[in-house]
Each structure stands twice: as C-alpha cells, then as structure tokens.
Amino acid sequence: MEALENLGVWGSILIAVVWSALPIVFILLYALVTLYAEMKIAAHIQDRLAYMRTGWHGTLQPFADILKLLQKEDTISSAADRKLFRLAPYVVFMGTYGAFSAIPFSSIYIGSNIDLGVFFIVAVSSLVVVGILMGGWASNNKWSIFGAMRSAAQMVSYEIPTALAILIAVMITGSLNLQDVTKFQEGGIHNWVVFGGPLPLTQKLLLIPFTLVTFIILFIASLAEVNRTPFDLPEAESELVQGFNTEYSGMRFAMFYLAEYANMFLVSAVTVALFLGGWTSPFGSFLSGPVWGLFWFIGKCLLLVFLQIWIRWTLPRLRVDQLMYTSWKVLTPFLFVCIFGVGLILVL
C-alpha cells in the first residue's frame, strides 16, 4: 500500500477505487450465498429439499438463476415513463450501497471512517424509498403504484423507531462513529450494548431491560425497513401481484432483488455494530484481531439475516393499518419510555 501511495495522485485514486469496490465484491458474494441459503432454509422449514440437481446439493443454482435473469428480455411497457423506469433500480441499489461505506467490517476496514457514521447510514438508506416510488410510479401500473405508496408510508414510519432505537445506543456509547461505538464494546459478550455495555455493574443491570427491548424493537423495525415478512406489504404477492416491481424483468428486476438482499445485510450490520459488539470477539481478547474481526462481524450479521429468513418463512403478513399501528402506537411509545429510562440511568 505504501508503494502505491508513493505513486502520488494516481496511487491514491487507485487505492480509493479498490477500497470503495470492496463492498460491492462483498455484496455480490454475499447475495449468491444468501440466495442459496434462503431457498435451502425455506425448503427445510417447509419439509422439502429445494435445489438438488444443479451441482452438489444445488450449490450452482444461484449462478443458474443469475444467468437466467441476464438473458431475460428486458421489457418496458409502452405506457411507462422510460427514463424513470430505467433509473429506479439503480437509485434503490445506490441507497443501499452508499450506506455500506460507513459499515465497520473490521478494525482496519471501514469504507469511510466518518464521525457521523450512523447518521449517514440512516440518511443515505432513505434513498431506497425514492427509488421504489420512482419505479412504482414510472411503471404506470395500478398495482405498482399501490406497492410504491405502501412502501413509502411504511419506510417513512419505520424510520422513526429505527432512529429512536439507534439514538439509545448512541446515548450509551456516546458516539455516532461506528468504529468508536464498536471499540466501546470491546472485551467480550458482556460488554455489548445489548447487555448494558461496559458500564459499572449497577448501571448495567438497570440498563439491561431497556437495551434488550430496544434491540428487539430495532430488529422488528429493520424487518419493516427492508420489506421483509411480516412487513412485506410493498411486494405483497397475494395482493399486489409483485408490488412496485411488477413490471420489471431481467437484470433490472435483479437489481431490485440484489438491493433487497444487500439491504437485509445493511440493517443487520447496523444492529450488530450498535448492539452486538460489531467486529469485537465475544470472548474478550481470545480470537480477536482484524481478520477474526471480519469473521465475527459477518458472522453476526449473517445470524441476523438468518433470523430474517426464518421469520419470513414462518409468519403471515400484516395489513397496512396494522403495520402503521405497530409502528406508531407500539414501537415508538416503547422507545420513548426506553429513552427516558436510559437517560435517567446514565445521569444517575
């Protein structure tokens, strides 16, 4: 790396490009794995086997799926707004990808170590709503508009509980920088924010109920943020055909799909960094270090992704009004109580 830095401007540009391309490499690899894992997990939940023919236990199936999507005809309906229609999938993906730049994968790798990391992620990932609205509107299909409008209402409402839950973690850790937040939780599983953080014992014990509730609420809200069951109304297949992406086909559809999977990882990453100790090892200094950090971080995130998949293949879907009810009348008031409680305990 130093050799590259000696090359001057070009060297640093090269480093920047490589540095910023790492997340996309990761997203693509992760999407392949999760695509396969989701189908397999779903199948085993449903008492069947899923892919068994393409490769060993169907391991080549994700590649086959991608090949199929690549060679699909890219149709745009004649009534669609062509420019917006083409742009929408990339806006959705950009929103997600942009947020990856502030995710601390390991103690030595973070795309951009900015002080307002958490804030940046919350802000940038809101772009996804714009993309979905764009896609739904440009499709000029009533079902798509339904999906897009639902999606906008849903994501905007669930940003409130998400932001409040993040706020609680920030109150405890005292920083918006995700690297600092993670370092704050170093030293083992008992130091994670979900278990009260590395605070004096009495404070910690008082905090645990609040942090546990907050963690669960953040997880629920994150399900809604990424349109997963039981909050998958924007793409509710039984009602809205396919929701906002009804009219999309081929690679444009695949972009939405990729963005959804990337988004699942993103919300898990935020939850992990804030509440589950980020890249720190659960065993204190045992098995810690930059590479182990990467392992722990991705491992914890995939665990949450697994939870999301598990929930998806078990629960039915909520109705629009029930969704709003959950956000405004259940999750938000609970979080206000938590904020008050945590604030009081921290002051004492």
């Binding site: 069947r48 079902w143 039915p316 909520l318 109705r319």
Partner: protein, 395 residues
C-alpha cells in the same frame, strides 16, 4: 355543537367523502382496478372489478365465465347416463369424488335402487378423504393469501398422501370417475384399509401442528378476525351453504339434515362458527370451521374403516340406464356446500336436462356484500375464505 369548536373536517361513514365545517362535501377520486383473471390470489380465473378509495373497497363486481365448459349442455348429449360422471368430476376438480357422489345419489334416487352396503361405506370413506383434501387446499391457499407460504406446503404434503390413496384405488389422482351410478368402478385394493388407517393415525397430530403454525398465529388472527363478517340472515338470504353457512352460526349440514348414504351410523358433529376470535361469521370462523371439519372427517373415516362390510360393489342395474319419465333433485354435502343435481328424464337413455346447483357459485354471490368497506388486503382473504373453485362456478 354547544358552542364548542367545530372540527375542520370530520369523516362520515362513506369512504371517499369528507365533510368540511361549512357542510360542503368533498369527494376524493375513486379508482377502478382489475383483479384477475391473471392474478395470484383469484384462485383460478375469477375477475374482480374493484372500486377502491385508497385502500378501502367501495364495491366489488365479480366477472365469471372464463372457465365455462358447458357442463349442462354436454350432459344432454351423452349416449349414456354414466357418461356424465367424468364431466361432473371436472366441475369441482378439487373435490371430484363429492361431485360424482352427488350425481350418483341423484340418479339412484331417480331409479329407486339401493346400492350395496359396502358401496355406501366406500363412498363415505372416499367422500370424506376428498373433503379433507379439498379443505387442505382451501386452508393452504388461505395461508398464502395471508402471506404465509409454509402452511400451504404443509397442507399439500398431507393432501399428497390422500391422493396416493386415491391413486391406489382407481389410478387417478385428481379426476377419478370412481363412483358410478349403482356402484363403483372398482373394489378397494387389498392393502387400502391398512394404508387409510395409517394415514388417519399419521394425520391427527398434523392438524394440531397446522393449527399452531397458522390458525392461532397472532398475526393471522389479527388479519382474519372481524374481517368479512357474514351475518346469519344474510348468509341464509344469499343461500350460502357448506362451511360458509356454518361459520355464520347456522347448524346445517346435509349429511345430517337431508340424510343420504350411511352418515347416520357414525358419530360426528357438524361444526359451526362461534366467533371465538371476533364476530360470528368472520373469515377466521370460516377457516376454523374447515379445520374442525377436517377433524370430523377423520373421525368418520376411522369409523367407516372399522365397520366396512364385505360384499359386491355393483348393484344389479342394466348396462343401459333408462329411467322413467320424471325429474329428481338430490343434494349432497360437498366440501364447499350443497351440490344439487336436478335431472329430467324423458324416458330415453340420455338425460333430457341436467342442472347442477354449485355451491361455490352461490357462495361467491355474497362476496360484494361482505367486502364493502374492507381493505384491499382483506378482500383477498375474504375471497379465499369463500373458497371458490372456478371450474365449479363457471361449470
């Protein structure tokens, strides 16, 4: 009122209308959307024209006929009364055995013949197995419409076992042509009784498992309770039948109230909706009535398997059936309700007229009535709760 500040706007009961403080009525635009015939939740080729105000349904107009196959006209042009049976199969293709049985019962009453006891027992076993299979499709797809995919596969896993039993009996898995006028096409294969007993033993715990997974799921209950309430009087006025009627609290089951076959020999109870989670006659009630009927059917099958007599499976009827001039209306309890056949004979070997009163068609007519004011997402569930099979609606 009483000098207190009037609210700027207040919602009145009709959706789409907002009254301002000066008494003017503002109307929002309604949207007409077309659900089906190609839509994942219309269970075939039903087309619903929906007038919506946002997500609230103002009106629903079902358009049918996409699967019309002239059953009644076909029946008049057969060379033989027996040849109608494969067509009856294709009406409610999810519950073909019950369709056959209805026709056979009607014809036997017309001919005034008694079928051997063994035939009656086998028919009861087949009809109840088919009822379970049909209800499994109903509750499984109901789960899908509620957004839960897994219960569907659970249901189909079990249905597959029933279809295996049918395949063992008559070689077909969907359209059997098994119950004939005056008897059956084949006797049971020797290992059938054991396999059927095995199925009953395997299946009982699965009902509980399914209920835990879907029926009593908090989200599912929230979605279905108090949705699409069909009051008793409306249900009777619209001539609803089957689980639809029973869920509204009317204890009416043709197997008991207009007896046919040997149902009076078994111990079982018709299930009615009790409104445990919400109001009597809501969508959840329709679901639970189906789940409980499945249990009752297992009871009947077990009793019938235990008491099945030996004997012939063909009554002594002539190869060419030539009934006297006259007419008959006979009704039996299919999984979706009352399947009635009105058959007119002119004394020849072909029926002069066959009219089928199909339960799903009649039940579907109540859909607009119970879905006004519900949300779009509810409509999907209400339609699934009615449990239509388009083959039977359109015939």
């Amino acid at each position: 009122m009483n000098g207190s500040k009037t609210l700027l706007t207040s919602y009145v009961s009709q959706p789409g209308e907002i009254k301002t403080s000066s008494g003017k009525t503002l109307r929002t635009d309604e949207m007409i959307i077309n659900m089906g015939p190609q839509h994942p939740s219309t269970h075939g080729v039903l087309r619903l024209e929906i007038v919506v105000d946002g997500e609230i349904i103002v009106d629903v107009i079902p358009h049918i006929g996409y699967l019309h196959r002239c059953f009644e006209k076909h029946a008049e042009h057969m060379t033989n009364y027996q040849q109608v049976i494969p067509y009856a199969d294709r009406m409610d293709y999810v519950a073909a055995m019950n369709m056959e049985q209805g026709y056979a019962v009607a014809m036997e009453r017309m001919l005034k013949i008694e079928v051997p006891e063994r035939v009656e027992y086998i028919r009861v076993i087949m009809a109840e197995l088919q009822r379970i299979a049909s209800h499994l499709v109903a509750v499984g797809t109901f789960g899908i419409d509620a957004g839960a995919f897994t219960p569907f596969l659970y249901a189909f896993h079990d249905r597959e076992r029933i279809l295996d039993l049918f395949e063992m009996t008559c070689g077909a898995r969907l359209l059997y042509n098994y119950i004939w006028v005056g008897g059956l096409s084949h006797d049971l294969p020797p290992q059938f009784i054991d396999k059927a007993k095995e199925f009953c033993k395997y299946y009982r715990p699965r009902i509980k498992e399914f209920n835990d997974l879907l029926t009593y799921n908090e989200i599912f209950v929230k979605r279905t309770a108090n949705v699409g309430v069909l009051p008793k009087d409306v249900a009777i006025n619209y001539a609803c039948s089957g689980p639809m009627l029973r869920a509204s609290g009317v204890n009416w089951d043709l197997r008991r109230d207009d007896p046919y076959s040997v149902y009076d020999r078994f111990e079982w109870e018709p299930q009615v909706g009790k409104g445990e989670m919400g109001t009597v006659g809501d969508t959840w009630d329709r679901h639970i009535v189906r789940m409980r009927e499945i249990e009752q059917s297992v009871n009947i099958i077990e009793q019938a398997l235990a008491g099945i007599p030996e004997g012939n499976v063909q009554a002594a009827i002539p190869k060419r059936i030539r009934p006297e001039r006259g007419e008959i209306y006979a009704r039996t309890e299919a999984p979706r309700g009352e399947i009635g056949y009105y058959i007119v004979s002119d004394g020849s070997t072909t029926p002069f007229r066959v009219k089928a009163r199909s339960p799903a068609f009649v039940n579907l007519s109540v859909l607009p009535e119970i879905s006004r004011g519900a949300m779009l997402a509810d409509l999907v569930l209400i339609a699934a709760g009615v449990d239509i099979v388009l083959g039977e609606v359109d015939r």
